[in-house]
Symmetry: C2
Subunit: 406 residues, 2 copies
């Protein structure tokens, strides 16, 4: 499968990379000098973008003058090049005219084009604007403050990117059955709005009068709470299911105390809703247990009992200490990313047991595959390619320097 | 396409529902009385789960005695029933023995089974434990507190659910090409760990000595900040790209002030990294502008200028005021969910232009399609079906009451 990607930032680059890590040939084209995300943070000490390296692993890169008619014609040829498994285009660039579906599909009738927009009106939206508009920050963060707290993880972008992958595969399945190509449009804001509905939040505010407020780090709707231990470490302990709940009480020796609490309250804590309603009473019983113990004192017992729990860590601690972020995990390998250095890089999380798991490969440098793409995909001759370089229509391989580096 | 789902909670139910909303026939089976998520919050005023209704839209439901040999045999027959577009099984139940891939694939060699686990060791993990373990709460929330803040949105579950969809479609594409079935295993923790890598966070802590700290609601790595306006409303304003940044300065009449700031600091704010490093200085210039104005005073001008911005709202405000959450958005329709009531329900966010967009359909009641599934999929006769009901192996349709309702 060959997919062409014209993109920037999180969602669409992630979609292309996910397909590349599942085995597709993915060609990302950029304007000369690199796209809008060429210098996106985090950066390596030398100023190269670790974000770009992370989001473009295993792709082929070509950089062209997107303002010149010749550059545009080349991009059109690359997107609409023949091949049963080609004619697949992912984009969030929203270029009207030469790069819209109407125009491109004239060159290849069975083109599949997946376009991610901000909102359904075509207005600009990013994760950081969609999230506040839909209310998630109002239910995030410490319960003793009314200030909304935005998530640090670009969750909507990550969800939308994965949805672009499944939408492209679904459209290609449709085409494989002889039903032709199509444009698929997805709006980031619609992805978030639909998710609110899926999680029951729209029904909640429609049918109930009370709003879901902030509840700190508590698990919503059942029991789950963070505790600070004697060594200052913080742990998260989950009592979502009956089994998990009984496990906590047993492991902490609080069965009797919880039974006494049930008697005082006149409710059963076997009901997850009661665990949620009376979470503060439950926490008051469990808090001293954790406060009096170091994590090392109960870690093994909790694991042996099959409890669902974890320790809070910084990313650095996780990378340094968690075996699942080490190369003991076959998903990870230490990779030399040209122009940046060596660090741990993930492959696709899914293990497809019919095939060998492919290790991650580095991101290309900007324009690294220019000659190969012009020759093999756009069908240019060697003479033509040399002229395109000379005329500055395409760019020689280079590291993706931030455009405005000081 | 027919997909069978044995599941609970967010990720796998979402995966099945996403496929159902793209047109697949999705059969969810549950144990008698309903699965672990039958009473998951939020609840309707009558105690029915809005979560369950949200996550199972458009599916067919059957409830069986999963502890009886006969119930297990029926589930096996349903999962492995013939059909070119069938033999697709999604699960997070992790039942060893009769319901693992090794056993099920004996009944249908080309079975595709996508299994979501907690971590790669098969240990229990949920969104609420994976997230603290990998460090995201340490970079979330107000900058003036060291306390980690967990996200309220089950982001990892939502991402993993969407990844289950694309993994299933990718495996089915492989099978369509005559390459057989397979098991696909995905661990929730691996999804999160891989995402850290994709976003550049693993490279960041490996190559840089300083950790990314908390920065409140600021956009990371460029400029984006929340402001409280004269009417007490809070807005988010984005200056991620050059164009967005210039737009903010122009719309707020702060071009000169920003130029003066550049002079004082000796840096160019055209560099996104400098906008991030000196975000507090920028915010000090913009803050009075917003503090002196009501949203209504600049709303139209901001939209006309194409700025990327939004207002903070609660979910209730969003549902009541945002046109994108109204039925003006073809993604939404007001649906009567049996046993609960009428509220606004989203279809799939993607618009596949080759086909008419299907409106959302309600979730089934537990066991609603028992007879149909036993007859059409498991191949039972009418007499057999009657006997199965009599013997209590299958359950008559019922609303998915919380198992432990007080």
């Amino acid at each position: 499968m060959r997919v062409v990607e014209g993109s920037a930032f999180v969602a669409v680059p992630l979609a292309g990379m996910t397909l590349a890590q599942m085995g597709a040939e993915v060609i990302r084209f950029d304007r000369l000098g690199g796209g809008l995300d060429a210098g996106r943070w985090p950066l390596a000490p030398n100023g190269e973008s670790l974000f770009w390296a992370g989001m473009n692993k295993g792709k082929k890169s070509i950089a062209l003058d997107m303002r010149s008619p010749e550059g545009r014609e080349l991009i059109t040829r690359i997107i609409t090049a023949p091949g049963d498994d080609a004619g697949l285009f992912l984009t969030n660039l929203r270029v009207r005219g030469w790069m819209d579906y109407e125009t491109l599909s004239q060159y290849r009738r069975d083109l599949i084009m997946v376009t991610l927009t901000g909102d359904r009106h075509g207005r600009p939206q990013v994760d950081y604007t969609v999230n506040p508009a839909l209310g998630i920050p109002h239910m995030t963060g410490p319960a003793d403050s009314d200030d909304p707290v935005a998530h640090a993880l670009p969750a909507w972008d990550l969800i939308a990117g994965n949805m672009c992958v499944s939408a492209l595969l679904a459209a290609e399945r449709h085409r494989l059955r002889g039903k032709g190509g199509q444009e698929v449009e997805i709006a980031l804001k619609d992805v978030a709005a639909a998710t609110l509905g899926h999680l029951g939040m729209i029904g909640d505010v429609t049918l109930n009068t009370e709003d879901r407020g902030k509840s700190g780090n508590a698990l919503y709707g059942a029991y789950g709470q963070d505790f600070v231990c004697a060594d200052g470490r913080r742990v998260m302990v989950i009592g979502l299911t009956d089994r998990q709940w009984r496990g906590i009480c047993k492991a902490t020796g609080t069965i009797e105390a919880m039974t006494a609490l049930e008697g005082r309250l006149g409710v059963s804590l076997a009901d997850e809703g009661n665990r949620w309603r009376f979470r503060e009473d439950i926490t008051a019983i469990l808090k001293p247990w954790f406060a009096q113990r170091r994590v090392a004192e109960f870690e093994a017992a909790f694991n042996e009992a099959g409890l669902t729990w974890s320790e809070f860590r910084s990313v650095r601690e996780a990378v340094e200490k968690d075996v699942d972020l080490s190369t003991d995990n076959p998903m990870f390998s230490d990779i030399q990313q040209p122009g940046i250095g060596t660090f741990r890089v993930p492959a696709h999380p899914a293990v497809f047991n019919a095939t060998q798991r492919s290790a991650a490969t580095p991101a290309p440098t900007l324009g690294q595959h220019t000659e190969e793409i012009l020759s093999d995909v756009a069908g240019c001759t060697g003479t033509e390619i040399a002229r395109l370089f000379d005329a500055g229509i395409v760019q020689s391989p280079t590291f993706a320097k931030p455009r405005n580096a000081a």
